[in-house]
């Protein structure tokens, strides 16, 4: 056994292709990004001048968009945590309780938006929220609330909230599925014991289910913040950061800086800070949530 598991050639063959691929698509780009982040250039391969830390100081101390992008990510992440996750937990518990065919059917239905391409979802919601023929405005009209009609994604006061609604709608299935898996992992006899003690209904779940779901919840909250930080395609395809930067996110910002504004060096400095923020956040949340796992 020992000899087989020490087979140096096999280890090399098993690990090398994966590491090589990783080096090509993750490490090399980051190194190259680091190089460009110290330079001022229009595009890769064109004339460039060394500007030292210029791009970074500009970003950190003079670029309000950078901080606005981070703020938007935090707001979006908090939106996920405060609105989407409690709903997902509630539905996961109810799905488990309803049982039978309904459990399977509704689980299947709730997940459908999660399998649709982000391009379709973005374009579809652009139409749903369209100020002239969009359904939401028609709906408001038909119930006599025409005064609330809005260019939902075109108004800086409602754009971020509209984005949150779309993302919650689209991502609800995954959240539900993870919590559902967590609920399924709780042994039935714990509920029986608790109901013998007189707990029932809402109280039962608040006292038994939610605490036992804590490991899943902490992982999901970390993932929610990371999802918010990494927001890109949906924003790019609907508002492209606007109006007036109200839905600006780091990934969209750096993409437009590179390909529309031709500030390639500056965009790479955003890339490097973006990676740093993501890694720092993951590290911190791991530190904070590494409490002892619940045993049952």
């Amino acid at each position: 056994m020992h000899k087989v598991l020490n087979n140096k050639l096999a280890i090399f063959l098993f690990v090398f292709p994966g590491i090589l691929l990783f080096a090509l698509t993750f490490l090399a780009p980051i190194v190259l990004s680091g190089y460009y982040s110290f330079r001022d250039t229009l595009a890769p391969g064109t004339n460039s001048t060394f500007v030292g830390l210029g791009n970074y100081t500009e970003l950190l101390f003079h670029d309000s968009r950078f901080w606005l992008s981070l703020r938007n990510a935090v707001l979006l992440g908090l939106g996920f945590i405060i609105i989407q996750h409690p709903i997902a937990i509630f539905f996961a518990i109810m799905l488990d309780r309803i049982g039978g065919k309904a459990e399977k059917w509704f689980r299947t239905i709730f997940f459908i938006p999660s399998v649709i391409s982000v391009v379709v979802i973005s374009k579809m919601w652009l139409s749903l929220l369209d100020p002239t023929f969009g359904v939401l405005n028609k709906l408001l009209d038909s119930v006599g609330l025409g005064a609330l009609k809005h260019a939902w994604l075109g108004d800086s006061s409602t754009a971020l909230v509209s984005m949150l609604v779309i993302l919650i709608w689209a991502g609800f299935g995954w959240g539900l599925l993870f919590y559902y898996a967590g609920v399924k992992g709780i042994p039935e006899d714990l509920y029986e014991a608790a109901s013998l003690d007189g707990a029932s209904g809402f109280k039962l779940h608040l006292r038994i289910t939610v605490p036992l779901l804590m490991p899943v919840i902490t992982v999901q909250i970390t993932l929610a913040m990371i999802t918010a930080l990494k927001q890109m395609e949906m924003v790019f395809l609907t508002t492209n950061g606007g109006p007036g930067d109200s839905t600006q996110f780091l990934a969209v910002y750096l993409y437009n800086k590179a390909f529309s504004a031709s500030q390639y060096g500056y965009a790479n400095a955003i890339s490097i800070l973006f990676i740093a923020v993501c890694l720092l956040f993951t590290y911190l949340s791991n530190k904070l949530t590494r409490s002892d796992a619940t045993e049952y």
Binding site: L5, I11, F22, I30, F91, F111, V118, L128, K138
Partner: protein, 274 residues
């Protein structure tokens, strides 16, 4: 649970499901109408005459057949590569003994945290100098690279939960390491592998930003671009726009309907063990 509560719950779920699916119902509905009908005040509308022409436009000008093949080819190769690499990496990280094991494992896991959007710009430069932009490989490589870290993570979790007895008896019978990994471990980890296949499928099939950055040649574009094709020439023909959105969503929904149980099982197995 009391019978009344159950009926209430049923009703509640039905309403929520209807609200959640409403955008799709609306999309399908108006994909059969002419553009002038979009401005009527009704929320759902029986078309005056079903506009099959919308779907013909979607098929022809959305270049559905061509893009479908590209999506299929890129996704299929990516899935095969991802499964093989995740399996070999996962096995090497959990069972085999070597020095740099934990270092390399951490490095691979970083791939889950690093945002792909931050690597887009330099990757564009690198791929361009390697001649990988505007090629199938230019999508397959980054898609695989993004999928392997998560796949490896899922597999290592799964591998730690299965006993080594099978491998030990296989070694005694004289099996070599490759027989063990591909002949014994692969079938044993089938539930995890299926989850990897399905999540990789969903991610690649629907991927947009990398394809949009690395491809400019029309003949190589993937299915999401069918929808993008309709923003120009058809920008005021909403019926055709909706038809192309419906058409491109159908394959993913069919795949989901087939593998639905596997997704749930895979997530359940992974989430609980963590």
């Amino acid at each position: 649970m009391k019978k009344n509560t159950k009926i209430m719950l049923w009703l509640f779920f039905l309403i929520i499901a209807a609200v959640q699916l409403f955008p799709f119902i609306w999309l399908v509905n108006f994909s059969f109408t002419s553009s002038s009908e979009f401005y009527s005040s009704s929320i759902l509308k029986w078309p005056d005459a079903p506009q099959w022409q919308n779907y013909i436009n979607a098929w022809v000008d959305g270049k559905f057949a061509r893009y479908f093949f590209n999506s299929f080819f890129v996704t299929a190769v990516t899935i095969v590569l991802t499964v093989v690499l995740s399996l070999t990496l996962g096995y090497a990280f959990t069972r085999m003994q070597w020095k740099l094991r934990s270092l390399f494992f951490t490095v691979i896991l970083l791939g889950i945290m690093i945002p792909i959007h931050a690597t887009l710009l330099p990757n564009f430069a690198i791929f361009k100098s390697l001649g990988l932009t505007d090629s199938y490989l230019g999508l397959i490589l980054p898609y695989t690279a993004v999928s392997v870290p998560l796949g490896t993570f899922m597999l290592t979790g799964f591998l730690r939960s299965i006993p080594k007895a099978m491998e030990e008896s296989a070694v005694i019978d004289g099996a070599n390491i490759y027989r063990i990994v591909f002949g014994i471990i692969a079938p044993l980890t089938a539930p995890a592998l299926v989850t990897i296949v399905v999540t990789t499928f969903l991610n690649c099939w629907n991927e947009f930003i990398m394809a949009s950055t690395f491809l400019s040649k029309d003949s190589l574009k993937t299915l999401p671009f069918s929808v993008m094709n309709f923003t120009g020439q058809y920008s005021s023909d909403y019926g055709s726009q909706f038809a192309v959105m419906v058409l491109t969503s159908v394959p993913a929904i069919i795949i989901y309907a087939i593998f639905n149980e596997q997704i749930t099982k895979g997530v359940t197995a992974g989430a609980v063990k963590g």
